[in-house]
Subunit: 427 residues, 2 copies
């Protein structure tokens, strides 16, 4: 497609999405649930055909020399298909929040005023690699009564097209407009530029991918963006603290998986417990071959641990999101220094305090300026499923609108509802 | 100041605001209330001195040939000062919402997850003309635990400086950082350009003023903007409807005041009730000299009304926010056409249905895509005070984050709070 055709295509998709969004917004909860259950059934019925489409993506990616772990992320195995189908069924079973009215109270004038939860309208989602995101986004969009325009990665285009066709069939079978979920048919980059600059058709953009992608989109978008930037998460081991618990939770926060954004990248330890705690966690990290980037004080303690890989931390280390078997470690005087360090170097994603002190816990919760703040729990819990949101469309590092894991609620807005009996305003 | 100095000044103010915001966020509710009560007292004690500073603005504006109604908006009379002082006292008496935790629920993993309401951080406010906005913004900022940077209009600079000095004293007397409320000391336009482009220091911009100002700021801002664009509000008289009530409410919605954004600019009438209703409201409008821009059908009915000023409506009239004694009038087939008209031509601000039909009321509430939707009430009620928010910092026509009248809640965000007992993530 040339630039003119792309602009025309995107505009047409935008207009269709806007029109479909009105039908979605007024659709009954039962109809949207029916579409989700139908989608789950279609996914299972067509697992084999989807596998064939997916194989074409895999073959192309392999031929293009894509690294094996990246090729793996493309795979739509029967197990992956079953998991996303189950996700659709779970969403279908969840309570509907569209139309819910909250806080209805009578005012002195006589009118009753409350807020009704309604869909945002149309969201655009830009993602890379994993084709199952197509279904995750589509199902959240259907559940929340929105319309969406999806732009997947070029390497998964065949899989995404096949999945999107099933979504359209499910919508149609349920009596909903198929245009409520549209996939951008071209992998041309120009399409993204158009998608993020149509405020008349698209209300919000949700990018999922690397930091570069998200920064570029935030810079150029003409509509709000739900941003998911870095996860430089911290675990702070306070004094007093149950050290057995601290070893277990710190280990989990760093090593359970290295690549997720909610893995802890920094470990802060109160000076009073450092001599007891650091050698113990150091032994765990040594056994798992985790590199430790230490300040002088923690380094001195860690260097005594057999097999420990200890490196002097630089100023840059405190800012770093490693997403790897590396952790920065620093001894702090106590709570105040820990909070100051996290607010200065952290990315406002997720930070945890491990403590027995009630006052410290309260201050940490209140004063650490992050989307998720935790007491005595692993930072790895910061995710929509673990928070009971059913599913997540992303994790927001913004403070505006949605913060942290974004579920169905993050795709809605509250409008004011006023019920009267003919009241008029006097002053 | 030259451009370099302005950039330096704004950067310094930004850094001070960011620092002050941390102290504000952790300050106890009682301390913020004390600051608000102290501010009210200082305003009253200094009413005479404020009047003198204000007189300098008035004199300059008059000399510059500013129109009398605009000069009037600048005035800080004892009555205006008393009203803003009272506003501070009311805010002080309102429940504090910072630190409130909502929705705390235990998850299958054992962790308890909820959301804590926290200040947004730093907001920048850009406003024109009326100096009392300085106190309204400052008091909402203090109550909500934020820091703010205020940029008032050049015509009120002396008054604003005097008011801002009192705010600083009140903060200081209460033991809060005076930099929590800063006034931009220059009226240079370059300062606005800087203020809206410091994402490291300012989290959100709230412009209050004409549409041109708001569009310009939204276009150039590097941070989210709480936009208040047009108020093209509608009143729809449905069938069946209590026509006495409809005349009373429609009259109020249009004529109680002409300049507010929540005055109705468009009147839609169901065909079945038009012959009874239109001549009655036409007589009211004729008596108040309201010009009626009518479609053919309503025009034919209105032309029979003695003294009625009837003009043929053009397509542009349906889009218009008159803010004047003018109203557009159209006969529609019924509910569907009314909803379609409002969603197409309206500005998604405030729209009301006057009806006796329960189903119609429900559909109007659900399907009209506006910040405020009303049944049997005057659109003039769309305001923070009437909604029980205590005060409003603006009215948002956005769907993202805050929608409609924005009170203290709109200046906060919800962060996730996770309380555990050493839980670790397994899958």
């Amino acid at each position: 497609m040339n630039a003119l055709n792309i602009a025309e295509t995107m505009n047409a998709m935008g207009a269709q999405a806007r029109q479909a969004s009105a039908a979605m917004a007024r659709s009954p909860a039962a109809v949207r649930s029916r579409a989700l259950k139908r989608l789950a059934a279609l996914l299972r019925e067509n697992a084999q055909a989807l596998g064939a489409d997916n194989a074409r993506d895999i073959e192309r990616a392999t031929r293009a020399g894509l690294a094996a772990p990246l090729v793996d992320r493309l795979r739509l195995t029967p197990k992956v298909i079953d998991t996303v189908a189950e996700g659709c069924e779970q969403l279908a079973a969840m309570p509907d929040i569209i139309g819910e009215i909250v806080g209805m109270r009578q005012q002195p004038s006589g009118i009753r005023v409350g807020q009704m939860r309604v869909p945002i309208g149309v969201f655009g989602m830009i993602f890379e690699s994993r084709p199952n995101v197509t279904i995750e986004a589509a199902s959240l969009s259907i559940k929340s009564g929105n319309a969406c325009i999806l732009r997947g990665g070029s390497e998964a285009i065949e899989s995404n097209k096949a999945l999107a066709a099933l979504v359209r069939r499910a919508l149609d079978d349920a009596g909903l407009p198929p245009d409520a979920v549209q996939l951008v048919p071209t992998t041309d980059r120009e399409a993204v530029g158009q998608l993020i600059a149509m405020p008349q058709f698209v209300d919000v953009i949700i990018p999922r991918g690397g930091k570069g992608l998200i920064e570029r989109i935030s810079r150029d978008a003409k509509v709000p963006v739900i941003k998911h930037l870095d996860g430089n998460c911290h675990t702070y081991v306070d004094d007093p603290c149950d050290l057995d618990m601290a070893v277990r939770v710190t280990d989990n926060a760093k090593t359970q998986k290295y690549s997720p954004c909610n893995a802890s990248e920094g470990l802060l330890v109160a000076r009073a417990v450092a001599p007891q705690f650091l050698p113990r966690i150091g032994a765990v990290f040594a056994a798992k071959d985790v590199e430790m980037r230490c300040d002088a004080e923690s380094g001195a303690l860690m260097r005594g641990v057999p097999g420990a890989r200890v490196v002097d931390a630089t100023e840059q280390d405190w800012f770093e999101e490693y997403l790897a078997p590396i952790i920065s470690i620093k001894v702090v005087a106590g709570l105040d220094e820990a909070i100051a360090h996290i607010n200065h170097y952290g990315s406002h994603h997720t930070d945890a305090i491990l403590t027995r002190d009630h006052l410290h816990a309260q201050r940490f919760l209140r004063e650490v300026d992050s989307a998720s703040v935790m007491v005595n729990a692993s930072t790895r819990f910061a995710d929509g499923f673990e928070y009971g949101l059913g599913a997540e469309i992303g994790i927001s590092t913004d403070k505006f609108h949605a913060r942290g894991p974004v579920g169905i609620e993050g795709l809605t807005s509250l409008k004011w509802v006023v019920l009267g009996e003919g009241e008029i305003r006097k002053g």
